[in-house]
Symmetry: D2
Subunit: 332 residues, 4 copies
């Protein structure tokens, strides 16, 4: 049985905590959230104690921490957890500052505990099936990866302002999936973007629509398209085109009912947003982390993946600002 402590009892923290609670080989022992209301609500719901961060790091009973707190606390908490011998399951991103992420990577590089940066989409059953079939050689050599990733509606502008911007906040998932599927590191990034959904997003200095192209040293290409608004729901599709064929992971729809009438043939919408679409992925990523801690050979996204996806976001921003391809080596 693996004992977890949770930092951050908000929406995503609650999801992971519930998945721990339901896992037969894990339990949530305690939690901490500076917003006492959040902390009380979730501790009550799950019947766990509350501790201060100091108590958590000092406790011998706790084997692992779930970091679901505000982004600017992630790197500190990772370092403290690792220093106190706890394994880490950290929500993305590690930090919005590339420098801070690099510092964090350096500081924990010699340590034993496992650190997982929780890129949930890698664990979606459909994308897992896609990945396994790509690795099994079903499309031959991968040549072109296409990721369509659109949110149903933009977040509040207040969120946009602290999000780090579209590339660091939203596209970062797609950067990680590109790396996951290309099977070769990206060397150059080219991004075009604009503000088409909501002028307030532009006034906040951000974009809401973007197309990004990635290239590897051998010439493999990936293209990402993003929008902060898809009126029909969460648009999350991936195509992997290779020498022998193509594999596509389609959207997951609300149900299988199809209506035939004078308007045409209508099937259900895609699941609305990430909580619905990636519910199974959240369970699977927690389970993978537990299995890894239990000694199984499980490949987890780690600090290096957190660093590299942020580098791609930085490069995309630079490319967009300077209207040119950016070589990753420029960021070294």
């Amino acid at each position: 049985m693996i004992n977890f402590a949770l930092f951050g009892a908000g929406r995503i923290g609650s999801i992971h905590a519930n998945n721990v609670a339901r896992h037969p080989e894990a339990q949530l022992v305690t939690l901490y959230d500076p917003y006492q209301d959040n902390a009380d609500r979730l501790a009550g719901e799950l019947g766990c104690t509350q501790m201060t961060p100091e108590q958590i790091f000092a406790s011998d009973d706790i084997h692992a921490v779930l970091i679901c707190s505000a982004t600017d606390t992630h790197a500190d908490l990772i370092e403290q957890a690792v220093a106190s011998g706890k394994h880490v399951f950290c929500e993305k991103p590690v930090d919005l500052s590339l420098q801070r992420v690099r510092q964090c990577v350096d500081r924990i590089s010699q340590s034993d505990p496992k650190v997982m940066v929780a890129y949930n989409r890698r664990f979606d059953p459909n994308f897992q099936a896609l990945k396994q079939r790509v690795e099994a050689g079903e499309v031959g050599t991968v040549e072109l990866v296409s990721i369509i990733s659109k949110d149903p509606a933009p977040p509040p502008v207040e969120y946009i302002k602290v999000s780090g911007g579209l590339f660091r906040d939203m596209t970062i998932h797609d950067f990680d999936m590109s790396r996951f599927l290309l099977g070769e590191e990206v060397v150059s990034v080219s991004a075009q973007a604009s503000c088409q959904v909501d002028p307030a997003i532009g006034e906040a200095g951000d974009v809401d629509t973007a197309v990004i192209t990635l290239a590897t040293a051998s010439g493999k290409l990936a293209q990402i398209s993003n929008s902060r608004r898809a009126s029909f729901g969460y648009d999350q599709r991936i195509e992997v085109h290779g020498s022998k064929g193509m594999l596509v992971a389609q959207n997951v729809n609300e149900n299988t009912v199809v209506a035939y009438n004078s308007d045409g043939v209508t099937s259900a919408r895609p699941l609305h947003f990430f909580l619905e679409r990636y519910a199974a992925a959240y369970r699977a990523e927690l389970d993978s982390f537990v299995r890894c801690l239990s000694g199984e050979q499980v490949e987890l996204p780690g600090m290096d993946d957190g660093l590299k996806s942020l580098m791609l976001a930085e490069a995309a921003l630079l490319s967009y600002q300077q209207a040119r391809s950016v070589n990753l080596a420029e960021l070294d």
Copy 2:
């Protein structure tokens, strides 16, 4: 909190027991299975006690029973449970004998406890969505219901021999769904059937492939097609055709990955069998039962539904044997 006792710790009993265990407002207190191995395994897994039937019926702590034991014990257990004031969640069928079911219905007709005959398909989220849209008038007047219902592979002949035959064992689900969707009682049944899948099934006196047509007094029609073997997986589709259009519930596939290659465009198979296909339905039916016991207004399939679907099975068998349409009134 509603306390359950379970009769029958086999495959389907285990499913319901686990759903009780995970339900926030229900718990499994105890179980009974004459096969001690089954009983020990599940009681250990779920951390519940074991009691004899007598102890269960005598216990004031137990509010409801899950009847998942052998078919020939269902009617007796229903009667005993109701007599001792327990609510009943009973796996289908009530009994294979129409006479016995009628007797059971009579005996408990004046009693208070709720009795649910657990026709799981009614709770499948896709079929629920279909039903709600039919009731909302989306297809206008229902004219023709088509149910495709095929198992991936036939059960062992030993099971066939005690199953009551295709119509009572397998089609009975489709009879219930037809009634659920037609919105009007069936008055006549016509069945054609044959043994095409496995000669051993024919030698056991049963059929493995069948087409059944139902008609209501106003002329609404339902057609059911059954096979004991669909090599591609569990084929579970429903079409409701009405004056304004058609609603179709398609199969649920293993995932959303589609492969494009020189063979064509291939999507995943339907989920293999009922454990996978109806996992959500099993959770939802248990939840509906709990909500009903908690005082919510929830429509549950009851003894009358158990009786009527068996009558349709009897009528289908008679129709097949005598090569004619059978009027339900003949069975009175």
Copy 3:
């Protein structure tokens, strides 16, 4: 070059005449229609002469006749054409009277000219592909054929009154397709039907909704569902289920555009009716006929197919009227 004469310059005659006109190895020489307006219009459009039936049968220049006139003239024209050595392409049905069809079959049985009864659906490219794959063994042994066949809207009641009724007019196509795909003659028929679409159809003594089951000697089953009204368009689907899998021919849609919006994911409707849906089939059947006359080995539906599909219609009517399965041998 094969020279054709056309009887009947109405809608379907015009289609076949145009297909002849466009065929590189056929030409329309002349036509006859007692409605002079029809005759003048089509002869003008296609630049052909007009002749009386007597002149047509006496002409040495004419190799084949297209019989697209009123149903009650078909059998006579077939007999006269064959007697004068012309090949025959005849629209279905041969006649609405089983006795008359048998007489016609007898009278021409010793003759040389080819007689094709034009069951257009056999030539639909999708159904052709289905048939070829069934014959190639892709589904193993055929066990169950399902035909969904619904018109977008009922014809005028005046047409219904002279149509011979649903089974002889509409289902007859599905009977032919069942025979085409089962690969074994049907021995028994069971039909249920009702009038749900338009009471005027019932007042005219006909039904508008029907479900028919066919069985062969070895136990293969076919089910047909018919409605005179599918508000979403022409519903023409076929499923062939066998020991190794299933092949399905889906509807043909108006185009491939799919709309994603808050209502769901909507693709185009099925092509509206037979003129659109079977345009390619009409071209292909004419081409098959021409190729057959040119000496190629082509399998065409003939008088025997016309006779057998009408027998199935008669049996279905009897089954419906007497609420019992009807054995085809009863009609001998």
Copy 4:
């Protein structure tokens, strides 16, 4: 009746000539091809005369010319045809040299005859339906256009060498479709590309895989993905994402048959290549040209479209070579 002369009796010339021959208001009077075998074959097949270019331009009987000859003859023939008062239907591209196209545009700018640059995809019935629905406002404001355009297999390297390269030869269609659908002129182009399909293509100085992003002044984006090889067939899909939803034109498949077996659920492949996929488009574009000449108000792609798509190709090539976004104004 509009009388056509054809230049170039090769594959595409033969298609257009046959469409003229079948058109009720057009006829092919004569043709010219310097390869006498081609000329003799097609003239024999269609029963038309042969003339020299000089005779064609001098003939009062000829109203319009179809230019399907080698690319390097297009601009000259356009100029001569226009000078002699003939309308022009010219296969794309006008020329591979931007300078030559500009010169041609200048020289004919004051002339009366209609000049159509035959971008066939604009006339595909699916893309037409897409375009009409976009113009009707169904997706609201267009924000992002995605074009997937992949050939089934690369052409011979000999063709590659004279093709002008991927951007001018293949992507040029997608540039035109982007302009057709964006509803606003493109101002900047960014292209990434590589040689992944066949090293011989790289040795010939070309690429075979590319991703191109276009942007308009208001920030609308278009992304194009190209490959010279899609092993499953011709991949021709378009997505238009806007403020109110998305419209997608899917591939056109060989037929509607779907196979269910233990491998999954397999539908037919996309139509193999442009001759099959765009057969209806070729007919429709010829018909549009004829209707325009007959005085109907029909919007046709013209010299300006030929010029602008070539400018986008030039910009893409420059972008790829210099690893930066290229502003269209740079090409002025």
